[in-house]
């Protein structure tokens, strides 16, 4: 069960009307290394991972939904008052034809989200290594988004999200270390 707090994890402010940026941000919404893929991957792996790290997956998976909500807010704000002409000029003409300015789970090139982006191998080390890789890939995506965006307010929020990827990556590394240790295995000498 979840308890919802009706606020964003970190404020999202947009300083320029720039629908093109929304088009790039979609990558973190419905892309392979996006927040949706992350949330679904971690929350799903919980069922078959050792008890000691279930809580970690719940916490991080939940936080990814908070990030998804921030990305959604950015995209929404960047496109909500754009005219069809402006969306067309921003390269969002095909999006407009299919979705108006509704958000959709797809990557920056318009490829719809698929469960094939995520894996649940059932092997705790394999799954956690995938999670570490996912965090590093999301961190890289945020870097490239910051590089390509010239909106200082958006970049401020993106920097926050990038820092969270760094922290999550370390937590997953720690989970691997916990599973490697033999602390509570019965040792008979």
């Amino acid at each position: 069960m979840w308890v919802y707090e009706k606020k964003l994890q970190y404020p999202v402010k947009v300083s320029q009307c720039n629908p093109t940026l929304a088009r790039y941000l979609i990558e973190q919404y419905g892309g392979a290394d996006g927040e949706l893929a992350a949330a679904l991957r971690y929350l799903n792996q919980r069922y078959t991972i050792p008890d000691k790290v279930i809580g970690l997956l719940t916490d991080i998976g939940t936080e990814e939904f908070a990030h998804l909500e921030m990305i959604a807010t950015m995209i929404y704000k960047l496109t909500k008052d754009a005219t069809p002409q402006q969306l067309r000029d921003a390269g969002l003409g095909d999006h407009y034809v299919n979705h108006d300015s509704a958000l959709y789970y797809q990557n920056a090139s318009g490829v719809p989200f698929t469960a094939a982006y995520i894996q649940a191998k059932g092997d705790p080390i394999a799954d956690l290594y995938e999670d570490i890789a996912a965090e590093e890939k999301a961190r890289a995506t945020y870097q490239w988004l910051i590089d390509i965006s010239d909106d200082p307010d958006i970049n401020d929020s993106l920097r926050f999200l990038r820092e969270r990827e760094i922290v999550h990556s370390l937590r997953f590394r720690e989970a691997v270390e916990i599973l490697k240790e033999e602390r509570d295995r019965q040792k008979i000498f």
Partner: protein
């Protein structure tokens, strides 16, 4: 409290090969990040903390885990 600096660099750089017939002018140096989590593996106890407000803004409570990012490339014409 004394600020502790990491014993590693958080940005690495290399110079990609530029061929005589490459169409774009060389980008020169290519950068990649090596954030602090790579060097920690398991967070040791009692690390330095940000104040609660500052931690909320920066995205981490822990000073040694903070890594500010800025576009390393300057814009150019063509």
């Amino acid at each position: 409290m004394e600020e502790r600096y990491p014993a590693y660099t958080q940005v690495k750089a290399f110079k990609p090969f530029h061929g005589r017939f490459d169409p774009c002018p060389p980008i020169g140096i290519k950068y990649y990040r090596t954030p602090p989590n790579l060097y920690m593996n398991f967070q040791p106890p009692n690390l330095e903390q940000f104040s609660p407000y500052e931690a909320l803004m920066r995205g981490t409570l822990w000073k040694p885990l903070y890594d500010y990012y800025e576009n390393p490339y300057r814009e150019r014409k063509s």
